[in-house]
C-alpha cells in the first residue's frame, strides 16, 4: 500500500516539533540484532535485523584470474537483490536500479575503505587469486535497507573462512574449510544514510519516512574517515546542511562502530558454541 498524503504531512508536522513517528530521536537507530553462520555452505553468512528491516548476507569464495592491472590482488563482487519476499513493492526478475545502486554503494564502502586486504588474497601473481563474492538479499523491508546491508556484509565477511585450495588440481575443495579468516582491517566500515525531510535530517527511516524523504546522503566510513558517498533523491541540499551531515557521520561512526563490532563478534562466538 502506498504512503498517503496525510501520513507524509504528519511526518513533516512531527519533525517540526523534533518528534518521530515511532517516538525515536532524529538521529537514533532502531534495535540491532545480528546472527552469523546462518547458511552452512557459505564461507561466511549473516542475518541482520534493524527494527523490522532484515537483510541476509553470504560470502562465497572462488579462484579466478586476477585483473591485468592488479595482478597480485584478489577480486571482489557485491550483488544485492530486493527479493519479493521482503515487500509487496518488490518484484521477481532482474535487479532494478534501486538494488543495483545499493550494491554499488556497499561495494565502494568496502573496497575504498581497504577493509579487505586484496594483496593477501593472491595465490599466484598474474595467474590465480581468490575472488570474494558477497551477495545480499532483503528479507523484510521496513526502511533503511542500505545501512543494514552494510552491517550484514561486514558480519558475513568477518564470519568467513577460506576454503581448502587444492594446488594440484588448481581448484577449490568446496565444503572444506581452513581455519584461516579473510584478511580484514581492524576497524569495520559502516554506512550511514541521512535523509532530509522538510527542514529536518534523520537517520534510519522506517518505510513511511523513507518515502517522504526529499533528499538523502549515504556516507561509508572506516576508522572515522569517509570512503564513499552518494547523494540521492530529487531535491537539493543547502551546503551548510551537508557540512553538518559530514560531521554528524563522524560522530555516528564513533558511536556505532564499537557497538556493531561487538555485536558481530558475540554472534560469531555464539554460532561456534552451537
Amino acid at each position: 500500500m502506498m504512503v498517503s498524503n496525510l501520513t507524509k504531512q504528519r511526518i513533516h508536522d512531527y519533525l517540526k516539533e523534533g518528534k518521530r513517528f515511532d517516538n525515536r530521536g532524529l538521529l537514533d537507530y532502531r534495535e540491532l540484532e545480528i546472527e552469523t553462520g546462518i547458511s552452512i555452505n557459505a564461507e561466511g553468512s549473516a542475518r541482520v535485523r534493524l527494527g523490522k528491516t532484515e537483510i541476509v548476507a553470504g560470502v562465497k569464495l572462488g579462484v579466478a584470474e586476477p585483473y591485468t592491472d592488479h595482478e597480485d590482488e584478489g577480486t571482489f563482487i557485491t550483488t544485492l537483490e530486493l527479493v519479493p519476499t521482503a515487500s509487496p513493492k518488490f518484484e521477481s526478475g532482474p535487479p532494478r536500479i534501486e538494488a543495483i545502486e545499493m550494491a554499488r554503494i556497499v561495494d565502494r564502502t568496502i573496497r575504498e575503505s581497504k577493509y579487505i586486504d586484496f594483496k593477501k588474497l593472491c595465490i599466484k601473481k598474474g595467474e590465480k587469486v581468490w575472488s570474494v563474492m558477497l551477495d545480499l538479499f532483503s528479507m523484510n523491508d521496513d526502511g533503511n535497507l542500505l545501512d543494514v546491508a552494510c552491517i550484514a556484509a561486514v558480519a558475513a565477511l568477518k564470519d568467513a573462512k577460506i576454503p581448502v585450495f587444492d594446488e594440484e588440481s588448481g581448484r577449490v575443495k568446496f565444503g572444506e574449510w581452513t581455519e584461516q579468516k579473510l584478511p580484514l582491517a581492524k576497524e569495520i566500515p559502516l554506512l550511514f544514510t541521512f535523509h532530509k525531510i522538510g527542514d529536518s535530517v534523520i537517520v534510519d527511516p522506517v518505510v513511511e519516512e523513507e518515502e517522504s524523504s526529499d533528499a538523502r546522503i549515504s556516507l561509508g566510513l572506516l576508522d572515522g574517515k569517509i570512503n564513499a558517498l552518494q547523494k540521492g533523491n530529487s531535491e537539493s541540499f543547502e551546503l551548510e546542511g551537508v557540512y553538518s551531515i559530514f560531521e554528524e557521520s563522524e560522530k555516528k561512526y564513533k558511536e556505532m562502530s564499537k557497538k556493531v563490532e561487538e555485536n558481530i563478534d558475540k554472534a560469531i562466538k555464539r554460532a561456534k558454541g552451537d
Binding site: 500500500m1 502506498m2 504512503v3 498524503n5 496525510l6 501520513t7 504528519r10
Partner: protein, 238 residues
C-alpha cells in the same frame, strides 16, 4: 463462550462431529462432520460453528466503515485502495450533491485518505459511498495501519476498548474495518500516545484480560507523561 475455549484450528481439521450443527464462515460440511476451511479460532454459538480469522487480508463486507487511499481518478469517480483483494470504486454519484463532475481532482486527489462505507461487494469489485454523515476526506491527523483481523480487539466490546483509549489520550480516533486507523489529537504527544496504546492492544491480541491490562498501561503512561486525565468522552466509533 470464554477466550480459553476458543481453540486454534487449521484447514482440513474436523471441528464438529455430527450433523446437528450448521457450518458457518470458514467451514464446510464433509459428510457428517464440519471441517475448517481456514486457519483461525473455532467459535461455536447457537448451533453454528465458524472459524474466526487470525490473519490474512481484509475482506470487505457491506456496511463496513473503511479508510481508503485514492489510487486514481476516473471520469465518474475515484479508484480506491482499501487494502482488499478487490478493485474498489467510489462513484461521484455516491457523494454529496454539491460535487460537480467536471473536475473530480478538486475534491479528492491521488494519495488522499477518505473515510467511506462499503456500499456493495460484487465479484467485479467493491463500490463505496460517502453519503452517510461523517464520511469524506480526512484532512488532518495521522494514520496507522494494523492487521484488519485485530480491529475487533482494538474496538472492544461495544466500543469499550477504543473509548478507553480515546479518553486517556484525548484523541479523536476512527477505526476502519480494513485496519487503517485515523488519529487526531491537539498535540503531537497525544497522537503518539494513542498510537502506542493501539499497538499495545494489537501486539497482545492473544492475551487474556486485555481490557484490564490496557487500562493499567494507559494509567501508567498518563502518570509518566504527567498528563491530566479528561473525563469527557468524545465521538463514537462503530
Amino acid at each position: 463462550m470464554s477466550e480459553k475455549d476458543r481453540e486454534i484450528v487449521i484447514p482440513g481439521e474436523i471441528i464438529k462431529e455430527g450433523d446437528d450443527y450448521l457450518p458457518g464462515e470458514g467451514t464446510r460440511r464433509e459428510g457428517k462432520n464440519i471441517v475448517a476451511s481456514r486457519f483461525g479460532l473455532r467459535d461455536e454459538q447457537n448451533k453454528l460453528v465458524k472459524v474466526i480469522p487470525l490473519s490474512g487480508v481484509y475482506i470487505p463486507r457491506r456496511g463496513n466503515l473503511v479508510i481508503g487511499t485514492v489510487a486514481d481518478i476516473a471520469f465518474n469517480g475515484w479508484m480506491m485502495d482499501i487494502n482488499a483483494p478487490y478493485s474498489s470504486f467510489l462513484p461521484v454519484a455516491e457523494c454529496p450533491r454539491f460535487f460537480k463532475k467536471d473536475d473530480l481532482s478538486e475534491y479528492f486527489g491521488i494519495g488522499d485518505l477518505i473515510a467511506c462505507k462499503v456500499d456493495s461487494v460484487k465479484r467485479k469489485g467493491v463500490d463505496l459511498t460517502i453519503m452517510p454523515r461523517g464520511l469524506g476526506k480526512l484532512e488532518d491527523g495521522m494514520i496507522i495501519q494494523i492487521n484488519s483481523n485485530k480491529v475487533p480487539r482494538v474496538i472492544g466490546k461495544e466500543g469499550s476498548m477504543i473509548s478507553m483509549i480515546k479518553e486517556a489520550t484525548d484523541c479523536d480516533i476512527t477505526v476502519g474495518q480494513n485496519g487503517l486507523i485515523w488519529i487526531k489529537g491537539n498535540k503531537v504527544d497525544d497522537e503518539l500516545f494513542a498510537k502506542e496504546a493501539i499497538l499495545f492492544v494489537t501486539e497482545r491480541s492473544f492475551v487474556e484480560g486485555l481490557t484490564e491490562k490496557t487500562e493499567k498501561f494507559l494509567e501508567e503512561e498518563i502518570k509518566k507523561r504527567g498528563k491530566t486525565k479528561k473525563a469527557e468522552v468524545e465521538g463514537d466509533v462503530e
